[in-house]
Amino acid sequence: MKVSLVVNGAPREVEGGPLRRLLDVLREDLALTGTKEGCGEGECGACTVLIDGEPVNSCLVPLAQAAGREVRTVEALASGELLTDLQEALVRCGGTQCGICTPGIAVCATAALAREPGADRLRLRELLAGNLCRCTGYQLVIDAVAEVVARRADATDAGAAPPLPARTAPTAPGQAGPGVGSRGAAP
């Protein structure tokens, strides 16, 4: 079947059986390889993308259920080289090491903070419980996201513009190495 959907703001048309995994369509047909496959069974969250703003495991979404939907992948977070504050914090705090889990964490945390901008550390752990990481031990990931919560709250208190689409340049250009999830830009 032919399926029309919107991916990172652009209307796309793709082909495949109705049960084809959205994950494979993104990676193979649309070359959006920022979205990773870890387990392929819904457990690890590496394949997390947003459908109409909700974080879902793209390995469990049949293509047919993405028809007519708005899909956002990790490639849509950064603007070119300019990482979001959250991505920048993950890099700087050591919240990303091998990087396999990082796109999923960045996407899930982005959605979670949009909905619960005041989440405390315990709640952040709950919100990110569907994203497994074999490297960091999670502490550094939570450090990074908690720091973003605090910084955005400060920015709001200081009367700055609402911080949601806030984008920060990496503190040092070299730190935004590959595997941060901002590579594989949309074709």
């Binding site: 109705p18 995994r21 392929g40 457990e43 049949p62 569907g130 994203n131």
Partner: protein, 310 residues
Amino acid sequence: MSGATPTRTPAPAWLRPATLADALAARAAHPDWLVVAGGTDVMVGSTRRPEPPGVLDLFGLAELSAITEGPDGLCVGAGATYAALLRHPTVRDRFPCLHEAAREVGALQIQARGTLGGNVQTSSPVGDTLPPLLALDAEVEVASAARGPRRVPYAAWITSYRKTALATDELLVAVHLPWPAPGTRQRWRKVGTRKAQAISKVMLAATARLEGDGPGRPGTIAHARVALGAVADRPVRLPTVEALLVGASPDPALAERVREAVRAAITPITDVRSTADYRREVAANLVARFVLDLAAPALPGADPGAGGAP
């Protein structure tokens, strides 16, 4: 599969009906098609299974997704997601044991897609919402194009390991939860390896209502339901334990008798997740703790220890 299949099977057909009537007609016309709601059960390992001839997609079907209050209780559409259950204030306030169970299913990503109907129909012995449905005296509503709707007590819905009484032309429409009598206390406990995204080793859902209780007087138990998950081939109610509770006063002696009765009532298995002995002990402790906590004054509207591992 045999090697002699020269013809390439065509991609499965796919239907996303706009109404329940259309869905039931499609189900009757294609009993061999795969019914998909959130896909969080059926998509696991899907690439390793032969494709079905067609897919009947129910995700987001409005008539199946609503949660509505009626005079007798709450009607939860089979297509209501965990996220929708968690957002619903009436579920939180009147059915805390179901709310708590939904909170501990999977994680954010699974809660966004997984549905109550999918949990009921998968009917796993470790399905987290299933003990609450037993403890809350839920009824399932199913329907077919030919025979219309029918309602079945949830306790009679599961026929064997992972099998339910759903006919091949039927769809699950809703789960009906009767309003619990005022003052009913509810308890949910999930014991697993990790708080989120962990398959349960043991779950408890229980409800109880006391009569004649007051300051310094625990009163007697007028109504009790005790349901366990992961201790049998399906979620189970424990009628012998419920019989011990009704008419008794919740005190340490009763808790001890209940502990024994739970041990005698279940024969859990040993598997990769836990051992039979551990499951039996934990189940007995969970129910005994519930009885002891009944002796403490009720906090308005809340289970003093809802959620979390013991």
